[in-house]
Structures are given as structure tokens and as C-alpha cells.
């Protein structure tokens, strides 16, 4: 167990290093931010001073090592545009994203487990066919288009829900949240829905396939031969087996939602991390982009580790040992 974690830790550090190299040089290649940062009326001396202050006069590899050195002490740099440390800038936007992501993950799970189970256990029924057809549609529509259609339908035509922003927020546990005001909740509905749809359909399909496969297993037939009720067979024997792939997907999707809720946040002007990333890319705010990717990588690595641990808890055949990668 310990050697397993040690091995995973070394792997994680290697991944973080590799990502830092790639992203740093890639962002460097996108363009020179200085034109965007210096006001047009600034003198040549002011311009030079700014370049020097931001460290842009150094060669790229030296910039990278400066970044790496600072990063090791927990400092990922200062935003060119906002002039504040990027970590606090990004973390300041985290609650908004987290709120959106958590809510959509919960929505996806709550909706997909019963639908997927139903479709998997009654594959030939009419509702099941409708559910499965629905997942194909949910899959194939791009996120930005779905987002705009939601806005069109619920905000523009029906006028039920607001189109943009977080609405009224309150402070809970030291974070701003929209969860506890009616206005905030109204603002949450559409972006949550938009973010939840792809995961819902993915999980419905996964659970349906898992349930359909599990019902054909000998151990399910044996359970029936033991006289176990259908309810219990579904809950203990089938659901328990399906939980393993579902946990993986929830884990991976959680990471990617936090990282890539950018489209939804942009469509709904949701002031989260994703919106910050898009804005920073437009403004060539290098430190923010690099730090964002680094933090996202850290998140992925952490979530993966957590998923592995959960795996071992769910599937008695999995032993966390040094030999497994």
C-alpha cells in the first residue's frame, strides 16, 4: 500500500513537470502580450520598464526556470493584467465553478442511475427506447449550441429564467454562493443543465449497458435461484457491480468539468474559472493560463488517485500494490 502510494506520487510529479514544460512553451508561442499590456500612449522607456518588470526580457528557458523555482515555493506568478497572484485569482473563481460542477454532477447521477437501470433492465420496453434515443441526441449536440438553445427556449421565449451571471449571492463558509438565494438558484438552473447533459447521457448509457450485462451473469441467475427478491437483486447484485465503472466516470468527469466548464461558463457569462481562462487567453495573460493548466493537472492527478482508492474499496479483487500502475 505504502509503496503503491510512493510510486503514484513519483508518477504524479513527473506528469506535473512534463505538463509544465509543454504548457509554458506553448503559451510562450501564442504571442507577445506586451502589445496588449502597454497603453498606446506610453513612452519607449515605460515600455522597456514594463518588459523588464514582467521578466519578458529574459530568454524563454530562463523564464521557465524562474517560474519553476517560484512554483516550488507555491508561487505560480502574478497576473499581467490584474496584477495579483494568479493562485488567489484562480482560487477566487473556484467557488463559482465548483458550485456549478458539483450541482451538475449530482444532477447527472440522480437522473442517470434510475434511467440507466430502467433502460438496462427492460431493454425492449418503449420508455427504454425513448431513453436510449434521447442519449444519442444528448451526445451529438455540441455544448455551446445546447447552451444557446436553452437560453433561447427558457429565457428568450418563455422568459422563465435569467440568461447570464450568478444572480444574488450570499456568503457561506467564507465563499460566495448562489445556492441559498432564489435568484441565485434561478441563475444556476440553465448552466447546470447544460453542463449536466453530456454526463447524464454518458452515465445512462454506461449504467444501462452495465445493468443489461449484469442481468445475464450467472451470479444473478444464481441469486434468482436462491429466491432473492428482484428488488434486492437490482440493489445489491446489479447496482453494486455497475458502481465500479460509474465511480470511474464520475471521478474523471468531475476533473474535466472543473477544467473544461469553459464553454458553459462563457455561454452563460458565469464568472468561474473557465471564463477566467478564456478571458486570459484573449489577453495573453500567460501566468494565469499556465497556472490554470497546472492546477487542473494537479486536480486530475488527485482525482485519479482518489478513484483508485475507491476502486479498491468497491471491488474486493483490486489490491493496491506497487506492481500496479
Amino acid at each position: 500500500m505504502t509503496s503503491y502510494f510512493l510510486q503514484r506520487l513519483i508518477q504524479s510529479i513527473a506528469v506535473l513537470l512534463a505538463v509544465s514544460v509543454v504548457v509554458f512553451f506553448a503559451v510562450y508561442g501564442i504571442g507577445d502580450p506586451i502589445e496588449l499590456l502597454v497603453p498606446p500612449q506610453a513612452s519607449a522607456a515605460e515600455r522597456l520598464a514594463l518588459i523588464k518588470r514582467l521578466g519578458l526580457d529574459q530568454p524563454v528557458w530562463s523564464q521557465y526556470f524562474t517560474f519553476l523555482g517560484n512554483a516550488l515555493s507555491g508561487n505560480l506568478g502574478t497576473s499581467f493584467v490584474h496584477g495579483v497572484p494568479v493562485v488567489s485569482l484562480i482560487l477566487g473563481r473556484l467557488p463559482a465553478t465548483l458550485e456549478l460542477v458539483l450541482l451538475s454532477m449530482i444532477t447527472a447521477t440522480v437522473v442517470s442511475v434510475p434511467l440507466g437501470l430502467y433502460a438496462g433492465l427492460n431493454p425492449d420496453s418503449r420508455p427504454s427506447r425513448i431513453i436510449m434515443a434521447g442519449t444519442v441526441i444528448g451526445f451529438s449536440l455540441p455544448s455551446f449550441w445546447k447552451g444557446m438553445m436553452l437560453v433561447l427556449l427558457f429565457s428568450v421565449w418563455l422568459g422563465w429564467l435569467p440568461t447570464a451571471g450568478r444572480g444574488e449571492t450570499v456568503t457561506a463558509l467564507g465563499m460566495q454562493t448562489s445556492l441559498f438565494t432564489l435568484d441565485g438558484l434561478k441563475h444556476l438552473i440553465l448552466p447546470t443543465l447544460n453542463l449536466a447533459i453530456p454526463n447524464t447521457v454518458l452515465m445512462v448509457r454506461l449504467i444501462a449497458a452495465g445493468a443489461a450485462e449484469a442481468t445475464t451473469q450467472d451470479y444473478v441467475k444464481f441469486a434468482r435461484a436462491k429466491g432473492i427478491s428482484r428488488r434486492r437483486i437490482v440493489r445489491r447484485h446489479i447496482l453494486r457491480t455497475i458502481l465500479i465503472p460509474v465511480v470511474t466516470v464520475v471521478g474523471i468527469e468531475f476533473g474535466s468539468l472543473v477544467a473544461f466548464s469553459t464553454i458553459t461558463e462563457t455561454v452563460f457569462s458565469w464568472p468561474g474559472m473557465g471564463k477566467l481562462l478564456i478571458d486570459s487567453i484573449y489577453q495573453l495573460d500567460r501566468p494565469v493560463v499556465v497556472a490554470y493548466v497546472m492546477l487542473t493537472t494537479l486536480l486530475f492527478v488527485g482525482v485519479n488517485l482518489l478513484v483508485d482508492v475507491l476502486y479498491a474499496a468497491l471491488d474486493p479483487r483490486v489490491k493496491l500494490s506497487g506492481g500496479m500502475t
Partner: protein
């Protein structure tokens, strides 16, 4: 003649786009209390389907279309789902062929035993543990208390099959249907399990329907035997009677091809050809294409069941009474 289980004219078909094919095609079978009945036949003859049909565990595209399944006087074909559930695992228990896949890999042995008990009666936790431990000990599993907390992958194949048998024993059923439960096991473990099952049947009065394709097992275990071919019972009767004086040419062929009958140096006999596929069975007697005693009548009608006391067979040209086998079947 009535028994604990009386199957009359059972017909189970599998629906395909080309039509409904009968895997079990008019089976009559009787099992009395405390009796071990072996059902033998080649692969694909319909033994498993007969076993599963008995407790109506036939899933689409399969369907039981004809016949009666009288268990203790009640026709299970008329039983409701809840009546069937209450019966399964309680009065009729099953053991499956493949011990590696019958236990749920993610649940402990203890939980899988406990649920088999609580599905049928109210019990305290202590009682459940006690009964589970006793059942495991009975099938020869060492340190059962520890084993209860383990998962299936921590058991060998032979041990898992013992667990499955222990589960079948939990509610002291009237009938155990065991579908080739020892095929996947090696010979020593196999005979150990056979011995235990036989003892159990004697001690508890549990009747056993033991499905196998191995005549050596039949000779060792059975009180009575039924020989199955192409979805039908072609011969049945007391085990000594059938094995010593087979009436049906198929039974004779099986006996000749059984290793136990061969003397050293002698070649193993084989029945010519293969068993016909379910969708390509010959008209009349389905065995006629492989039979060396075939007469013109065989291709016209399927021979009716001829009964003589406990002995029954279906053949137009049965093997003459003179002993035709070259030796007797050894266990």
C-alpha cells in the same frame, strides 16, 4: 406413480427469427423424496434447460410452452412470481455448473449466504451466522467463521462449488437440482463432493436431480437414471437396471463409450456422428441417423413411451434382453 416432482410432457422452446426450436421436447420425469436421479445425455441434449424449466428460470427467447411441472402436487406452471420466488432456494435449491461464475465477486460469502436465508424466513444475525457456519462445515470447508468474511476470489474453484452447495443446503430444501456441479473440478474433489452429497441426501431426505454427462458419476451416485437425447427422455429406470440391461440403443452406445467399461488395451467405442442440432432434428426418432438398429418405422413416427413398472424407454427396435455390454460400469 407420483413423486415429489412430476414433470409431464414438458416442452421448452427457444424463439429465433427462423422459428421456435424445442430444446426440451415432451419430457416426463419423476423424482421421489430422498432419491438421487441422474439426468445424463450428450452436450446440447437439453439437460440444463430441463433443470431450469423445473423452477421456471427460463428467460426469453426461451419459453415453456407445454406440460405440467407438479411439485408436491402443485403445478408450478400456474404459480405466481411470488410463489415461485418463495419456492426457489427454499424448497427447491439449485447448484450451477460453473463454480467460478455463480458467486457474486463483489459480495462476501457471508452476505451471499445470509440473503439466501433472509429471503425465506426471519432470523437474528446470530442465527444466520450460526446456520451459515454449520452449512459450510457440513460441506467440508475449514475455519468457516473466517471464510464468511471473505470474497469469492479468495476461494479455489472446488471450494466455491462447496460454498454453492452449502448455500443450496441452507433452507433444507426438498429438492436440489445440481447442473453438472463437478464438471469443472478435478477428480479427487469431485468424488469427495459426490460422497458428501450422497450422505446428505440420505441423512436429510433431500431429493436430488443430478445433471451430468458422465456415466461413472451415475453409477456411483444415482438411485435412478434418465437418459436424454435431443430434448427427450429416451430411457429411464433404476440405475442398476438401466446400466446393466439398457433397452435403448443410445444408452447402450453411451455405456460402450464410457471409459469405465473399457478393459485395458481395448479401444474406446464412440457413437457415430454428432448429436443433431436443435434446428436440424430428423423426423421420426431423432436418434435414427446414428442408430445401428434402425428399422423403416423409425423415420415415420417417434416411438411411444413403453413402461414396465419403473422402467421406461422409447424405441421401435429395443436392444434384446441378453446382456450386450462387454462389462460393467465401474465408478
Amino acid at each position: 406413480m407420483t413423486g415429489l416432482l412430476d414433470i409431464r410432457g414438458l416442452r421448452t422452446v427457444f424463439h429465433t427469427p427462423e422459428g421456435a426450436w424445442a430444446a426440451v421436447d415432451g419430457v416426463d420425469l419423476t423424482i421421489r423424496r430422498g432419491e438421487v436421479l441422474c439426468l445424463v445425455g450428450e452436450s446440447g441434449s437439453g439437460k440444463s434447460v430441463t433443470g431450469f424449466s423445473t423452477v421456471r428460470l427460463i428467460d426469453p427467447p426461451g419459453e415453456i410452452v407445454e406440460g405440467e411441472i407438479l411439485f408436491d402436487g402443485k403445478d408450478l406452471r400456474q404459480a405466481s412470481d411470488e410463489e415461485l420466488r418463495a419456492l426457489r432456494g427454499n424448497r427447491i435449491a439449485m447448484v450451477f455448473q460453473d463454480p467460478l461464475s455463480t458467486l457474486n465477486p463483489v459480495l462476501t460469502i457471508g452476505e451471499q449466504m445470509a440473503e439466501a436465508i433472509t429471503a425465506h424466513r426471519r432470523c437474528t444475525k446470530a442465527q444466520i451466522t450460526e446456520e451459515s457456519v454449520r452449512a459450510l462445515a457440513r460441506v467440508g470447508i475449514p475455519s468457516p467463521e473466517v471464510r464468511l468474511r471473505q470474497y469469492p476470489h479468495e476461494f479455489s474453484g472446488g471450494m466455491r462449488q462447496r460454498v454453492a452447495i452449502a448455500i443450496a443446503l441452507l433452507n433444507s430444501p426438498d429438492l436440489i437440482i445440481a447442473d453438472e456441479p463437478t464438471t469443472a473440478l478435478d477428480v479427487t474433489i469431485q468424488s469427495q463432493i459426490l460422497y458428501e452429497v450422497q450422505t446428505l441426501a440420505r441423512e436429510t431426505g433431500t431429493a436430488i436431480l443430478w445433471i451430468t454427462h458422465d456415466l461413472a458419476i451415475v453409477a456411483e451416485l444415482a438411485d435412478r437414471v434418465a437418459v436424454m437425447y435431443a430434448g427427450q427422455i429416451v430411457e429411464s429406470g433404476a440405475v442398476d437396471d438401466v446400466l446393466d440391461r439398457p433397452c435403448h440403443p443410445y444408452t447402450l452406445g453411451l455405456l460402450k463409450s464410457s471409459t469405465g467399461t473399457v478393459r485395458p488395451g481395448e479401444r474406446l467405442h464412440q457413437i457415430d456422428g454428432n448429436a443433431p442440432r436443435i434446428d436440424a432434428r430428423p423426423s421420426g426418432c431423432p436418434f435414427r441417423t446414428r442408430c445401428d438398429r434402425v428399422v423403416p418405422l423409425c423415420s415415420e413416427t417417434y416411438p411411444l413411451r413403453q413402461e414396465n413398472g419403473d422402467r421406461a424407454f422409447r424405441c421401435h427396435n429395443p436392444v434384446p434382453a441378453a446382456p450386450a455390454t462387454s462389462g460393467e460400469v465401474l465408478p
